[in-house]
């Protein structure tokens, strides 16, 4: 294509040709094609990347599934999130461990979870901890139903899921 067009004269036989390092037509000397690749810099870069990623690595796994339309509130002083029963408020709906509930059935569902915990850990005291995952714009009126339900079911420790600032 180049040979047919105007580029033939401008590129192939132009000033660039004379200055080409790869195959200068003017210079008769043969150059070595193979070149040594300096690997030290590459290993340095890789090592720094591995260290950076290891430092940010989270071994706790994914505890919360945050939906596309959900934005958690931001806080600068927050504790590490632990695995507890999750009560999710998503688009006006209530979920206890991904099971759809409403304001009337949330207490029964939480009591069911409490019963299961006590069956699995008969010699341990019930910790009464649950995590609330809600959008930052949710009104307290809605959140209050969850808090009251938790209180009735004996969940006294509430953990509000937040994004660290």
């Amino acid at each position: 294509m180049i040979s047919d067009g105007i580029l033939k004269t401008s590129v192939l036989t132009g000033t660039l040709e004379g200055h080409s390092i790869i195959s200068p037509r003017g210079a008769k000397m043969k150059r070595q094609v193979a070149a040594d690749l300096l690997l030290t810099a590459l290993i340095d870069a890789f090592s720094i990347l591995v260290i950076f990623l290891l430092m940010n690595f989270s071994s706790t796994g994914e505890i919360l599934m945050i939906g596309k339309n959900q934005e958690l509130p931001k806080a600068s002083l927050a504790a590490v999130l632990e695995r507890n029963p999750v009560i999710k408020i998503d688009e006006g709906k209530l979920y206890v461990e991904d099971k759809l509930v409403d304001a009337n059935t949330i207490t029964a569902e939480l009591l069911e979870l409490r019963k299961k915990y006590q069956e699995l850990h008969p010699n341990e005291a019930f910790p009464g901890v649950a995590t609330i995952q809600a959008d930052r714009r949710v009104k307290y009126e809605f959140l209050n139903q969850v808090i009251l339900g938790m209180n009735q079911a004996g969940y006294s420790d509430i953990k509000f899921a937040v994004v660290l600032k």
Binding site: L53, I66, A78, R136, N144, F160, L164
Partner: protein, 151 residues
């Protein structure tokens, strides 16, 4: 006996090392969690304790209004002067004045460093984000026990 001279220098084969690093980077990049999620801890009084058994420690009530004003009230503290016992942090452009709240909490903690409990009383229309922000400010001022009052 004839000793042959050998070169002491040798080349380390770097290819397996690069392979290992590449695999590590791929694994870490795939499994990385970029969103840092934490939790704000709140303790609720369930009501199983008798009133006499409850330890009376100094506490601050933060009552939020629908307009963005905050009414602060200190209870069970003898060190707080009368002017700081009950006061209002007025809103700014219909929003909570966070700077004033921060200053007020610092003043309270300076007057009585034993105030470790902060209780928040939001209104029905208060946004969840604002409650978390108030909690964050209380924590920043050094309070460790936080609570949210139901409606």
């Amino acid at each position: 006996m004839k000793h042959s001279k050998k070169h002491l220098d040798f080349e380390v084969n770097l290819i397996p090392f690069i392979d290992l690093l590449s695999v590590s980077i791929c694994f870490l990049l795939i499994t990385a969690v970029w969103l840092n999620v934490g939790s704000m801890d709140v303790k609720q009084a369930v009501g199983g304790q008798a009133q006499e058994d409850t330890k009376k420690s100094p506490l601050v009530w933060v009552r939020m209004t629908a307009q963005g004003d905050l009414d602060l009230e200190v209870q069970q503290s003898s060190l707080i002067p009368a002017t700081l016992r009950k006061f209002r942090v007025a809103q700014q452009d219909s929003k909570v004045n966070w700077e004033e709240l921060e200053k007020a909490l610092v003043n309270l903690r300076q007057a009585d460093p034993s105030i470790n409990t902060g209780l928040i009383q939001p209104t029905a229309s208060t946004a969840y984000e604002e409650i978390i922000d108030v909690m964050d400010k209380l924590k920043k001022s050094g309070m460790t026990d936080l609570g949210v009052s139901p409606l």
